[in-house]
């Protein structure tokens, strides 16, 4: 950003901040003052009734687990972290209980993982897996959740071992979906660990017998794999995934693909009306900027305000988004690099590797990306977007 842009920007953001400083009283009773989050799950009344019932009988595990599970399901659909807080509140009597019932443990692990308390999540899942009296169905879910956590942490060998156990004898009596999930779980890890071709043919086979809801998952894995290989078929897979469920994660991933292809014009209709999500407002702002659209300034100011509000509450869950913001919208490579490093220390997803490499390059500190190079050597991970090493997509093949 040059000096003039800087000044214009400062004036705009200051004006935006000042504009929100004074409370107001609407004069018209029919004026709509707030749109509630998309109620994909219907009316809020049953939730209130359930909560009231729970407050009358706080020790009722069945009721508490039901309330927490419903809240987590809403969090997934609506992308609203408040629902995760509601789930935690429902589990409050057992939140610090070392001997919590198995069903509570599973939900608690999911919530702790969402708060990035990975070690506590893993401890809960391990305890559930070690509990021979726990229902195999719960354990199967725990195994899958654990593989997911380990994958996020970059502990891919352990994650793959979990997927293999899921396909094993212990869970053989369960639903066929468990075996399908075990294979999908294993195939995704293959796709990350340098066995791209083998992973792709497995995923293609799995896609054929997938239930409609699960097809979206497979399509997303295939889209991301294609993207890492620089294969244009990524777009078709992203579209398939989005048709099944347009959640925040998939929308952001597809928007990133479009932005990398310099197709910002296609990002705007994709994210229309979804700017409540920080990750999606961020992609909108990046698209405006790529197009030289004046709306970039307002979107950037809104994001800055949201990050400040998150920091004010002591929240550090937005590190990746903040790093992207610093890198692509604030042109502050040093800040982006610091955040990207902190993020890489916590999580090792493909997006985190890309972020660290790009931030290091922007900050002209190529060596800062060394941890990613090291990780690639250790795991066989490859990604055409990184431009780091000779491509090794054939690594898993003879």
């Amino acid at each position: 950003m040059n000096l003039v842009q800087h000044i214009v920007f400062l004036v705009l953001t200051t004006a935006a901040a000042a504009a929100t400083a004074a409370p107001f009283t609407p004069t018209d009773d029919t004026q709509v003052v707030e749109t509630l989050p998309r109620r994909l799950t219907g009316s809020a009344a049953p939730q209130r009734a359930l909560r009231a019932q729970l407050q009358r009988t706080p020790g009722d595990v069945t009721l508490a687990v039901r309330a927490a599970r419903e809240a987590i399901a809403r969090a997934r659909l609506e992308g609203d972290p408040r629902e995760l807080g509601a789930a935690q509140a429902a589990l409050a009597p057992w939140w610090n209980d070392a001997h919590a019932p198995a069903a509570v443990r599973l939900l608690r692990a999911t919530l702790r993982q969402s708060q990035h308390d990975f070690s506590a999540a893993l401890a809960d899942l391990q305890a559930l897996l070690d509990d021979r009296s726990a229902a195999p169905a719960l354990q199967a879910q725990a195994e899958l959740t654990r593989a997911g956590v380990l994958q996020v942490l970059g502990r891919w060998a352990e994650a793959a071992a979990g997927c293999e156990r899921l396909a094993g004898a212990r869970y053989a009596t369960l639903d066929a979906n468990v075996r399908w999930a075990a294979q999908a779980c294993g195939a995704e890890l293959m796709s990350l660990r340098g066995q791209a071709d083998a992973a792709e043919s497995r995923l293609a086979a799995l896609a054929r017998d997938a239930e409609p809801g699960d097809a979206a998952w497979i399509a997303l894995i295939r889209a991301e794999l294609a993207e890492r290989r620089g294969d244009a078929r990524a777009q078709a897979h992203y579209r398939t995934a989005l048709q099944a469920r347009a959640d925040v994660y998939t929308l952001a991933a597809y928007a990133d693909w479009l932005l990398a292809a310099r197709r910002a014009r296609d990002v705007l209709p994709l994210l229309e009306g979804r700017d409540a999500a920080d990750a999606l407002l961020l992609r909108q702002a990046m698209a405006y900027r790529q197009l030289g659209d004046a709306r970039a300034a307002a979107a950037t100011a809104a994001l800055r305000e949201r990050f400040a509000a998150a920091r004010a509450r002591g929240d550090t869950l937005h590190q990746r988004e903040e790093a992207l913001f610093a890198l692509h919208l604030e042109d502050d490579a040093a800040k982006a690099l610091a955040l990207a490093r902190a993020q890489w220390a916590q999580q090792k997803e493909p997006a985190d590797a890309l972020l660290l490499v790009q931030a290091a390059r922007a900050a002209k500190q190529e060596a800062a990306a060394d941890p990613v190079r090291q990780f690639m050597r250790e795991t066989g991970y490859a990604d055409a977007r990184l431009g780091l090493v000779a491509q090794r997509f054939a690594a898993g093949q003879p």
Partner: protein
Amino acid sequence: MRWLCSIALSIALSLAAASSHAHKASDAYWTVEVAGERLTQRLDIALRDLDREIAVDANEDGQLAWGEVRSRWPAIESLAAAGARVQADGRACTVTERGAPALDEHSDGRYAVMRQTLVCDGPVADLTLHYTLFAASDATHRGVVRLVRGDATHSAVLDPSAPAQRFGSDAAAPRTFFGFVGEGVHHILIGTDHILFLLALLLPAVLAVRRTPAPPASPGSALLDVLRIVTAFTVAHSITLALAVFEVISPPSRWIESVIAASVVLAALNNLRPVITRQRWVVTFAFGLVHGFGFAGALKDLGLAGGSLAAPLLGFNLGVELGQLAIVALFLPLAWALRSTVLYRRVLLQGGSVAVALVALVWLVERAFDLSLMA
């Protein structure tokens, strides 16, 4: 992170788009301003949180009309009153004014704004904020607090599961040892009366005999004189500072402040017409005792009540000594260099002492009679 497949098990639960948090979790913004006996507070609660809790969306159309919000305002106010309570220690406060229903825009949507003024039966010192809003329905909800007291603003994040938080009379009080060292240095450097007392005592130290005109002193005797004075002052005020902080003796501050002013007047006058020339350290020690009570007042104002006293006391005292040493280190070489000049003898020693005596005399009258002459 990604959502992982939901196996069609009864629990059908996956790694819920966990880190693609759409936005931040729920917060309410609470500002409390303290001015004497008056408390002004403002609490902003997100409309969507209110709807989840007490059903604001009467027609369930997913949109909140202002009429719907307005008709639920009494319920919103009682929810707020139960969830966010301010308690002024030892004071009874009553609500004297309530703001009209209003809204404000925050980074994640519209918030209901509740404003009220409370008047207490005396000046408010310590405050306790009780915060339990949404404790039963959202474990990640937080109250983002701003406490404003004069020029000082203190921020805190309240967790409804650990609801009561106490704020001392100076919310910006340091909490670490080095924080108290800093406060000690700060106090002596802005404490004009202590500095003037010290300077009035040090001005003649570079001259041999306390009569006018006095010949320059030898370096050794000047240094010894300074050392004796500074040591006497330090030992004396350390004793009374500790006695006052541990509440062994707590003389009324008006008398202490008046005697401190008097000590400055006398020290300055003694330079003009020396009465005490030998063993000035004894007099310094006596007045040092009074200055110690003055330091204790400043330390107590930082809000020590209740907590551990030893570390703050040590830190603050160390800070005072460091500040005092800095003054001596600046003053002494200058005085030494200038000691034979007319400038030093006439202007600085004589004129300076007259000026110091006059200023301190004004303080003395102000403090003793509770007047304001140099406002």
